[in-house]
């Protein structure tokens, strides 16, 4: 059973209905890309997966968002545990008001991750990385280094770990956000147009990182850049005016769409 699955999900802001009756399974350990014209509800759909939608007032959700079989919109669902499972990258990165090092250590610290857990995590990570971190100080140092490496940022920041994270370039900040999200051991990564504020080179780095990470994480990316979608998508969800028009493996949706609106969108006739 896939661990993210939506059943008859409808979402409205007040009386403004944004998503209607969306049912889809998001495949595990693949990159799923959500595409569609501006305002069609991509961000809304993404934020329903970790209940960040709750920050908006007057939002009404009906239907089910099942994460590991649990309906997250059930009254007694554990929202904090859910959010911990779903790493999140926003359109514009926001470094927490602390150092680069603390940005990564923050999550594990707040969640009071035990020493053993951290060591365990480091061991798990070593299998996932190209380069093993240099063994040196405390566990937390190794953990921070591991995640910075995993997000492809280590080499650029290793000499200034204790400077404010806000001094990084936007592209670096986005990779920092990725490392920060990974450090609380999510199972999935949700990213809302993660490269739209970035220069092409930084954008490429993020894409590369996603492709690398999909071995171990389920990744859901919202994008309005069709070329990017073609480059990274394994699975595609096409939304149009709040309706789930088509979803399926990337080749199928891009090369042989079954709906006329999908065809028009992927060929660039509507945008």
């Amino acid at each position: 059973m896939p661990h993210i699955s939506l059943k008859n999900l409808s979402i409205a802001y007040g009386h403004h209905r944004v998503l209607q009756d969306v049912t889809v399974n998001i495949p595990d350990k693949q990159i799923t890309v959500i595409i569609g014209p501006s305002g069609c509800g991509k961000t809304t759909l993404l934020k329903s997966l970790n209940r960040l939608l709750d920050l908006n007032e007057d939002v009404k959700v009906t239907g089910d968002v099942l994460i590991d079989g649990v309906n997250t919109y059930d009254g007694n669902a554990d929202i904090l545990a859910l959010r911990k499972k779903m790493g999140f990258l926003s359109q514009r990165p926001y470094p927490l008001p602390m150092s680069i090092y603390e940005n990564i250590a923050f999550g594990p610290k707040v969640h009071r991750m035990s020493k053993d857990r951290i060591v365990q995590q480091i061991n798990d990570l070593e299998g996932r990385m190209v380069q093993v971190p240099s063994k040196k100080n405390g566990q937390m140092d190794i953990l921070v280094e591991s995640y910075l490496r995993l997000a492809g940022l280590w080499e650029e920041v290793k000499d200034r770990l204790h400077t404010p994270a806000s001094r990084l370039s936007i592209g670096q900040q986005q990779r920092l956000a990725l490392a920060r999200a990974l450090a609380v051991e999510p199972e999935a990564i949700l990213a809302d147009e993660p490269t739209s504020a970035l220069d092409p080179l930084s954008a490429q780095l993020i894409e590369k990182q996603f492709k690398f990470l999909k071995k171990n994480y389920t990744i859901v990316v919202v994008t309005h850049i069709l070329r990017q979608a073609r480059r990274i998508a394994d699975y595609v969800i096409f939304l149009y005016l709040g309706e789930l028009v088509e979803h399926g493996p990337a080749e199928k949706v891009f090369d042989n769409p079954s709906d006329e609106r999908t065809r028009a969108y992927v060929s660039g006739e509507i945008s």
Binding site: L52, L55, R83, G87, S90, G107, V110
Partner: protein
């Protein structure tokens, strides 16, 4: 046509001129006060004026220490009472309250900030003075109620709108992305407030407190009505005090036949103005920096 350019130049110029005018005005007032205070400053040493406790104008003895203590006392009580409550209220309004409730409270706070201080003073006489009298009797220190504590309480009520509205403004300028990015890590709202919201807004909070402080420090009428006005260092919260603004308001123009009295009052006015002006300026510089730098 160059009409648009002309309008632009004209408006820029008039804005600059008004700014210059306002700033010059403050400067001119300070100069005038200084000139008027000069006679006492040449006669009596500054340290005597500031730290002597002996206040006998007829003998030419002007020790402002009891008044300075009175001012600092009511201000300190006001800040201790107001700051925690106001910051918590602002946090609640910014991070927990529904936006309609927030808008409503903003309106109420603005109205409260606009109420003339004499009305606060009246309410103080009607409600706070008897309350303090009752409190004093209850814990065994009989008092008329006209006291340091009453002054502090009334000031706390008066600075609350300032602190709440500035702090709320500061919290609301933190981008929503800060909340989304931190909550997405699975932390609680309180953890987010503590580690992200408060940390990002430290300077702004300081500015809010300093503005409140400046308001409390210079407030005159309301305090004068409830504080008792006795020129002695108060020996308890329930004893009367005599803050500087009250001294000036009560005496200026009345006992002008006493030599140097006029000059002494001018000196205390200058002192007040420098402290309040200095603090307000500091707060505004902090707030301006925040706006420029943003929160990233």
């Amino acid at each position: 046509m160059d009409l648009r350019k002309f309008k632009d130049t004209f408006s820029t110029l008039s804005i600059r001129l008004s700014l210059v005018f306002v700033n010059t005005l403050a400067f001119v007032i300070a100069i005038i006060l200084y000139i008027k205070a000069k006679p006492i400053l040449v006669k009596v040493s500054l340290s005597h004026l500031l730290f002597s406790t002996s206040w006998h104008p007829i003998r030419g003895d002007f020790g402002f220490f009891p008044f300075i203590i009175g001012t600092l006392g009511v201000t300190a009580i006001a800040m201790i009472l107001a700051v925690p409550v106001c910051l918590l209220s602002a946090i609640y309004l910014s991070e927990y309250a529904h936006k309609r409730f927030r808008a409503f409270v903003r309106l109420v706070v603005d109205i409260l900030a606009g109420i003339p201080s004499v009305i606060y003073g009246l309410c103080g006489v009607i409600a706070i003075v008897p309350l303090v009298r009752f409190l004093g009797q209850a814990i065994g220190s009989p008092t008329t109620g006209y006291s340091l504590l009453a002054g502090g309480i009334i000031l706390a009520i008066m600075v609350a709108p300032v602190i709440i509205s500035v702090a709320l403004e500061v919290f609301r300028t933190i981008p929503q992305a800060a909340r989304e990015n931190s909550l997405a890590l699975g932390i609680t709202t309180w953890e987010m407030i503590k580690h992200v919201i408060l940390r990002s807004s430290l300077h702004g909070i300081i500015a809010a407190i300093v503005l409140g402080f400046a308001r409390a420090f210079g407030e005159t009428i309301a305090v004068l009505m409830v504080v008792g006005n006795v020129a002695k260092i108060p020996d308890s919260f329930f004893a009367p005090a005599y803050p500087l603004p009250a001294l000036i308001a009560n005496n200026y123009g009345e006992m002008m036949s006493i030599p140097l009295y006029d000059s002494a009052l001018m000196f205390s006015a200058l002192l007040l103005m420098l402290v309040v002006g200095g603090f307000s300026l500091a707060a505004h510089i902090i707030l301006l920096r925040i706006e420029r730098r943003g929160y990233a």
